[in-house]
């Protein structure tokens, strides 16, 4: 190592705590704005990618952001519901194939997504083990959820009550896991997928109970009027849909009035998408069609505005840190006047002494730059899973 750089290095090593403090301060000043930039870019990319994948979304009128977050990222409280009959409206127009979504219930923290098999094709989700759901009550779960809860095919997931204090509310439904999806690195990895009718069963809109025509139900029957039988609360209701009781499950009321939180209209082509959007714009009822990517772009623009303020604040901190670092070096040089005098006496020139002081600054800044670059690279490299974890969970 060059003479002055060697001496500078020995000095920095000897005064290691001072050197470490200075290096850490400079590193942070450089790393924080860079990391912020990287994380915000990755967040924008993550948020934007899924939104871009879903050009159109239909839901009840209300907050487009809430609708997007619920339907795309399977989080936030459920938006107002729209009737299942809207599926037929879309089909009849012949412009798009509708995919139903009912994202209201949870199993602990995992969203239960009521949908159809078309959703899996649309999101390009494949089963890694087991099979796709085939009948009422079966569940397919995301890869991350299976890993974190240690679930495999043949295990069960239980829907959570919406409120622990509402005894008349939704009863837990026990659902067998028939398939585990391959990792998709999206919100789907943390979700439980069931047929949309299963979510209606969870809600209590459909149910199964013991056969009221059988002899064991005689004491429960209050009134019999032809096929219409009225029974009391002692009738056993099933909280698990099995092969034995599946036939007993039935729905009351009009199918077209059952709730959905959103419909993804998969347009035939761009022209159909534009026509569909125009028709929904012209409608004057409680249904809206939104563009999730536009909604997310607005959200991202807000994040970028916040970033500018943060970067401005960090720049001021950087200037202050720079001044403190200069002050520390100047004070250090002042304290080392005797040392400089000695070095001069034994053959050090003014230029060498200036180089010695400069070498210390260069070494500290160079190490800080390297560390900041390494940290920024790490953020870029491993920031994506972090962002995914933050966004998805």
């Amino acid at each position: 190592m060059n003479g002055v750089f060697y001496l500078a290095w020995r000095y920095l090593v000897w005064h290691r705590w001072k050197s470490l403090t200075l290096t850490a301060a400079i590193t942070l000043v450089m790393f924080l704005p860079a990391a912020l930039q990287v994380l915000i870019d990755q967040t924008a990319l993550q948020l934007g990618a899924r939104a871009d994948q879903t050009p159109l979304m239909i839901g009840a009128k209300g907050s487009p952001l809430e609708l997007t977050l619920n339907s795309l990222y399977l989080q936030s409280s459920p938006p107002a519901s729209l009737p299942y009959g809207e599926m037929d409206v879309i089909r009849q127009q012949g412009l798009a194939a509708p995919i139903p979504l009912y994202v209201r219930f949870k199993s602990r923290n995992a969203a239960i997504v009521g949908t159809s098999l078309a959703y899996f094709d649309y999101r390009q989700l494949s089963v890694a083990s087991g099979r796709m759901m085939a009948v009422l009550g079966e569940a397919v779960i995301g890869a991350k959820l299976a890993r974190t809860r240690n679930l495999s095919v043949g295990d069960y997931v239980l829907s959570s009550p919406e409120s622990a204090f509402d005894i008349a509310g939704v009863y837990p439904l026990k659902m067998p896991v028939v398939g585990i999806l391959a990792p998709a690195y999206s919100a789907d990895d943390d979700a439980i997928f069931v047929d949309v009718k299963t979510t209606w069963v969870i809600e209590g809109l459909g149910h199964g109970h013991q056969d009221l025509a059988g002899p064991e139900a005689v004491r429960a029957i209050l009134k019999k009027d032809g096929d219409n039988i009225v029974a009391n609360a002692s009738v056993v209701e099933f909280n698990e849909i099995t092969d034995a009781n599946r036939d007993s499950f039935h729905f009351h009321g009009d199918n077209s009035q059952r709730p959905l939180t959103a419909i993804i209209p998969v347009a035939r082509d761009d022209k159909s998408a534009v026509i569909l959007a125009g028709r929904y714009q012209a409608r004057d009822d409680d249904v809206q069609l939104i563009s999730p990517s536009r909604v997310m772009n607005e959200l991202i623009a807000t994040i970028f505005t916040v970033r500018q303020y943060v970067v401005a604040a960090l720049s001021l901190i950087a200037v202050a840190t720079g001044l403190v670092v200069v002050l520390v070096f100047m004070l250090s040089l002042r304290l080392r006047q005797n040392e400089m005098k000695t070095l001069r006496s034994i053959g050090g020139g003014r230029w060498q002494l200036a180089m010695l002081a400069g070498a210390e600054i260069i070494l500290v800044v160079a190490i800080a730059v390297l560390l900041a670059a390494l940290l920024t690279w790490s953020t870029e490299r491993w920031g994506t899973p972090l962002v995914q974890a933050l966004i998805v969970s």
Binding site: R10, V13, T342, S345, G347
Partner: protein, 230 residues
């Protein structure tokens, strides 16, 4: 070169002042011959250390001529004086002036690390080790300065001064901080080196018990004409 012996120091009408003329040094004539060992004595503030700094070229006289080992130090640029110092003069300081962030070996090698005129070679490293052995600190080469005794520190300072085999040794009260036993050891080291290498030795000292070991003693209070006039 004429082949005639070159004086270690040859000063003529040397004049230097600082601190708004509060301190003045005036030497009409001073010659120190080759291989002389000289002790400079005198009261504090009479200009002994200033003379050493003029000889090294760290300070430049306002007037007069000063030749050291045949070179006109008084006419040298800062860079020339630095290279001259590095190659020809070994300095020993009263307070050792060792760097606490370097170990013993690096302190001995300091003139080479900080100077540009000589590069750090294997031979120089070997000489540093040899000097340390001679000084009795050969087993402490990697030890930090803070873990040495006063006597050991002074020996490191002497080894550093002798590293590049300087033809002239300057010592500014080299025994001032030492106990009698170490005082004797350090002075013996310097005098033995001067004798072996036929080098000159100029030592500033306040210790009158050491004076009979030098070939010449200069009382600076009588040499500095400015002091005499005052």
């Amino acid at each position: 070169m004429s082949g005639l012996p070159v004086p270690l120091v040859d000063a003529v009408d040397l004049s230097f002042a600082y601190d708004l003329d509060r301190f003045r040094l005036q030497l009409p004539s001073l010659v120190i011959e080759e291989s002389e060992t000289v002790a400079i004595v005198g009261p504090s503030g009479c200009g002994k250390t200033t003379l050493l700094h003029l000889i090294t070229g760290i300070l430049q006289p306002q007037s007069g001529q000063l030749q050291v080992l045949g070179s006109a130090v008084s006419a040298m640029t800062d860079d020339q004086a630095r290279d001259f110092r590095l190659q020809n003069i070994g300095m020993v300081f009263q307070s050792f002036e060792l760097l606490d962030y370097l170990n013993v070996l690096d302190n001995i090698l300091l003139p080479v690390r900080i100077g540009r005129a000589v590069s750090l070679s294997g031979a120089i490293r070997k000489r540093a080790g040899l000097l340390a052995e001679q000084m009795g600190i050969g087993d402490k080469l990697s030890r930090p300065i803070g873990r040495l005794s006063q006597g050991e520190r002074q020996r490191v300072a002497v080894a550093r001064a002798l590293l590049l085999r300087p033809p002239l040794l300057l010592a500014d009260e080299p025994t001032g901080n030492l106990d009698p036993a170490n005082k004797d050891k350090v002075l013996s080291l310097l005098l033995d080196y001067a004798e072996q290498e036929k080098s000159g030795l100029i030592t500033v000292t306040h210790d009158s018990t050491l004076l009979d070991r030098f070939s010449r003693v200069l009382d600076f209070s009588t040499l500095n004409q400015a002091e005499v006039a005052a």
